[in-house]
């Protein structure tokens, strides 16, 4: 089951993008939340390391490919948010499954400063680029 958990990372237009995908059953597995959190954070850190930037980027995009969500995903998003927010960055969450959006809102995540819910990757990149300083 663990192998079904896919997390990819890439840089686009100076913005780090994390992409996450899993099977619906993954949400019921024990330790999924811890695993998801650890993998997402380590992917984000390795993206930072390969960029060689002196300061952390002001924005990060998290794209959710899966069509289901659950408390493990919420916790993982919150864990990544904690890391990014500690560096005064903004986390853009793209494509969060609409059917599960109400639980994310009811937990208060969407109300946090530096956390933005977005619909498409294109509009997110446009928004995120505004935060990234132009390369001299």
């Amino acid at each position: 089951m663990i192998e079904q958990l896919q997390i990819k990372g890439e840089w686009r237009d100076g913005v780090p993008i994390l992409e996450i995908d899993y099977l619906p059953a993954q949400m019921f597995q024990p330790r999924t939340s811890q695993l998801l959190s650890e993998k997402l954070i380590s992917q984000y850190r390795s993206l930072l390391a390969e960029s060689g930037l002196d300061v952390p980027p002001p924005a990060c995009v998290l794209v959710i490919k899966a069509t289901t969500a659950g408390s493990p995903l919420v916790r993982a998003i919150f864990a990544v948010y904690e890391v990014i927010h500690a560096d005064s960055g903004t986390l853009f969450c793209v494509n969060y499954p609409v059917a599960y959006l109400e639980s994310l809102t009811s937990l208060g995540l969407t109300a946090l400063p530096g956390f933005k819910l977005m619909n498409t990757l294109d509009e997110t990149l446009e928004e995120a680029r505004k935060l990234v300083p132009p390369i001299a």
């Binding site: 949400m27 811890q34 408390s71 493990p72 109400e102 809102t105 937990l107 208060g108 109300a111």
Partner: protein, 250 residues
Amino acid sequence: MDKVVARLSTIEILGVLAPGFVALIALHAWLRFDLTDVLGPSVSGNSLAVTVTVLIAAYAVGSLLLEWVNAGTRYFMRVQLEQLGRPERLGTSARRRVLDAGVWLMHGMPLPRMRFSFVRAQVMMSEFNESVSHTFESSRFSSPWQRLDMFRKLVSRVSVPNASTVLTAVADAHARLLFMLSLSLTLALIAVVGALLSAVTIVRCHQLSPLLLLVCASGLGSYPLRLVAARYWEQEIILVCSLGEWRTFG
């Protein structure tokens, strides 16, 4: 009878029975009905039967009030959090705005001040509740303190040092929170009904109704009770979170 009452928890007494009694008393004062007529001569002559009937009625009314409070506050919180997260959504239909204003009047209360730690605690409790109960997406259906209450009950499955003292304090804070919210709703309902009756009197008799004083008093009294409830809520969250970090439970 004593055994039945003794079995009721503080939460049931403060959060359900007491507001139910207050609502019944308000209803009695308003409608001025004679209890002997309602219950009939055979029942009203028996003091035990009268006590049991009043207790059941108060419990039923209190339960209804509590469910109303839960549903109303859940809606209020959802709207508040949605607006905080996506301010551009504010431009909604007139019907929705009227509904939101009504809900604010009846259930509006300040969100806990500790924003970051509040969300952290909510995420932690939701995850714990779902992993222990093997349920899915329970956050969608529960009000913030239902989640907290469920966590408080489920956390006793995990061995946490010195948990019982904290859990007792949490239960006390929770009982007071429910009492304040149900009482606040009762006052708000008295204010709304009073306002409607006053309006009818003003239109019919072209004079100010003495009920207006009651409307103002209960309307003004309702919100401060929710402010107090919000403080109890914060207290409850802090106490629950003092039991340990989520990594301890995972």
